[in-house]
């Protein structure tokens, strides 16, 4: 009786593992192997390149992005920089960067006093839970930055392609 019980158990396990292996096997050809991901260091290097010799200060930027995202393929993102938009003093550029997508850049926006407001909205892709960093360049040569952590349940770039 005991033996039979064991046998049944063993069979069930075999079936379960077998099914698992079969699933893996079936999934293997469709698994998308991405290239090496950008790293926080790579993002930092990109920021250093943008900023150059200037000092990067924290503040002045509001990033409006959901803290928890279900689908990384379309993440609504609004960036507002606290800066006047006059001829003498305006926000020149806003760069959105990330740590863990294949590339650190997301979007770079260039503004001038005619833009009226140092703000824009868009939709971005995030491959994983990570920090999104925004760097803003003002016309007086100062650079400001802000970061926000976004938790992503299903990352972008991983859906199967036929």
């Amino acid at each position: 009786m005991d033996r039979i019980g064991k046998q049944t158990k063993a069979t069930r396990r075999a079936v379960v593992t077998g099914a698992g292996a079969a699933l893996l096997g079936a999934a293997a050809p469709t698994v998308v192997v991405g290239p090496a991901r950008a790293t926080p260091e790579e993002m930092q290097a990109t920021i250093n390149k943008l900023v150059g010799d200037a000092k990067l200060k924290a503040g002045k930027i509001t990033i409006d992005i959901p803290p928890l995202v279900e689908n990384g393929n379309t993440v609504p993102c609004t960036v507002t920089v606290d800066s006047p938009m006059t001829e003498q003093n305006y926000c020149k550029a806003i760069h959105v960067l990330n740590e863990r997508n294949p590339q650190p850049n997301v979007i770079s926006v260039y503004l001038n006093p005619r833009s009226g407001r140092a703000a824009f909205s868009t939709r971005i892709r995030l491959s994983d839970t990570q920090n999104v960093t925004v760097v803003a360049e003002l016309s007086n040569g100062s650079f400001w930055s802000a970061s926000v952590n976004v938790v992503v349940t299903i990352g972008a770039c991983l859906e199967d392609v036929i």
Partner: protein, 106 residues
């Protein structure tokens, strides 16, 4: 031809800050995806967007593969005078799209 949607107010007061919204239908293929047979799918994205107001640049964006499909942008402009706001998209494989909107400033 790529389909683009633009949203521009038809009338504005002089000096008013107006909101502009643009969306263009495009898959924004990242170049980081592979087919089931292991071939890499070539990058095909829109990389530049430029908005001009009577010929003067008001907004420019460099887009990277991390932009969602059907790139959407919402931004602002100062309504200085009546005229034409022109939107241009440039992409890989020589893609170029253009939309214009008339605005009356009182």
């Amino acid at each position: 031809m790529t389909r683009a949607l633009i949203n521009v107010p038809t009338k504005a007061k002089r000096g008013e800050i107006i909101g502009l919204k643009v969306l263009i239908s495009h898959k924004m293929e990242t170049g980081f995806r592979y087919t089931t047979t292991g071939e890499r799918i070539e990058r095909d994205i829109i990389h530049t967007f430029i908005a001009t107001y009577n010929g003067d640049e008001i907004f420019r964006a460099n887009l990277h593969p991390a932009m969602s499909a059907n790139p959407f942008l919402a931004f602002h402009a100062v309504a200085t005078e009546s005229g034409v706001i022109d939107f241009q998209w440039h992409g890989d494989n020589g893609l170029a799209a253009r939309q214009t909107a008339k605005i009356t400033v009182e």
